[in-house]
Symmetry: C2
DNA sequence: ACAAAAGTGTTGGGACTACACCCATGT
DNA sequence: ACATGGGTGTAGTCCCAACACTTTTGT
């Protein structure tokens, strides 16, 4: 290979790669992130990538070990570099979304769920990764329908709206307009069930199988 | 470290990481990509990442070797995995933008610039990377002002509009409306110079130092 | 009857599209 | 004078935020 390095007899220092996944869920009215309880201080999960495994499989396995579920929504975020200490280690960061009702509770004591708006102290690297994941998530729900990945199979429009407001940390969404937009997007279908509330019962909806997950981007610059 | 692997006496197979940059420029009315002329068949540039160098520096060096310039706009794209053949090699893909007037011409014969809409046959991996880079570039110019990275210091509004149309491969942009939007964005300042044309001379503009590169995202879902 | 929450209709203003028009230069 | 391309104004349309309103349930 043209760019291969010529080193002396000694083998070159091997590169290491780590996978770290920011797993989000929606619980207790908060957007929560899964930290690894194995370490102290708290940290994101870290798994060394073996040569025989794909990055995505490594991330999936990491999610499975922490949540007991392997079918979370998963997307690659960014690959971070060496910082002051890590030398020649690459961190491939991912983010994942999983609905709270899928989380097995008692087992998986390794998982430590914390409010993304009230995190314990982390290493700067891990803080950066989580901030970036949050930014990407916020960005993403504005042009696609991924918020559903955080809700149970059946949900009310109010719950969907709450999900948006919690993720965006902005509680000024107008109910009527929100509903209109969701209706027009044609991504939901009604269920013949209702959720009991303190007032009028709320109709339940589910996400349509054939829904278009990504709305086409509308140009706004220029 | 908790996740470190326990292997036998033999060292684990080392991971390799490669940096590949999709370098775009705007030349001859085309959006062009830089391929490496050293290989045949044609391919994206590939540089092995050494343990002592950051990924970004490796990408910058790659750009310098092909273009003679190191200050291109640079952004990480995605990290690809092993495919059928590559075994345990990670490819960290980047994309870069460089204005055509900065490209030194005679030297750097390694660089082979080709129209992104009329590429030679490449490996599937490299085709994927370029398609993805193009998609990200198109996406990006709709909410930020990176198109300027592909233009010379001074340019006319028509040239800017052409840049948009070429990148988007959509030539239906309305002149008047385009100008209005650019004006409102307040990212340009006039220069007291004009470009000769076959008709009325065109005013030259330059990008404002204090301009806001990213316009705030407007929500369109929901 | 009233509180609480679901659910809908209307309206005024702002943004975008389409298109017509004017301006400055060379031949 | 006219061709060429730069540069601008405007009217109609569509979209959207704000807000008021109706409906259905429990107490």
């Amino acid at each position: 290979m043209a760019f291969e390095e010529q080193r002396s007899v000694q083998a070159p220092p091997a590169l290491r790669a780590i996978v770290s996944t920011v797993i989000f869920t929606l619980k207790a009215g908060q957007l929560q992130v899964c930290l690894s309880a194995r370490h102290s201080p708290a940290s994101l999960p870290e798994t060394a990538v073996s040569a025989s495994q794909s990055l995505e499989d490594a991330a999936k396995e990491q999610i499975f070990q922490l949540t007991g579920h392997a079918d979370a929504y998963l997307q690659q975020l960014y690959t971070f570099d060496m910082d002051a200490h890590s030398g020649n280690t690459l961190t491939v960061a991912w983010f994942a979304l999983i609905a709270a009702d899928k989380l097995a509770t008692a087992e998986h004591a390794d998982a430590n769920w914390v409010d993304v708006l009230d995190m314990p102290q982390l290493s700067p690297r891990h803080s950066d990764i989580i901030s970036y994941a949050l930014q990407r998530l916020r960005y993403k729900i504005e042009y696609s329908a991924v918020a559903f990945e955080l809700l149970p199979e059946a949900f009310t429009l109010r719950e969907l709206q709450d999900a948006y407001m919690i993720i965006l940390n902005d509680f000024r969404l107008d109910k009527a307009n929100f509903r209109k937009k969701i209706r027009e997007a044609q991504i939901l279908e009604e269920i013949d069930q209702y959720r009991e509330t303190r007032g009028r019962p709320a109709r339940l909806y589910r996400f349509r199988d054939d829904a278009q997950l990504e709305t086409k981007a509308r140009r706004f610059f220029p």
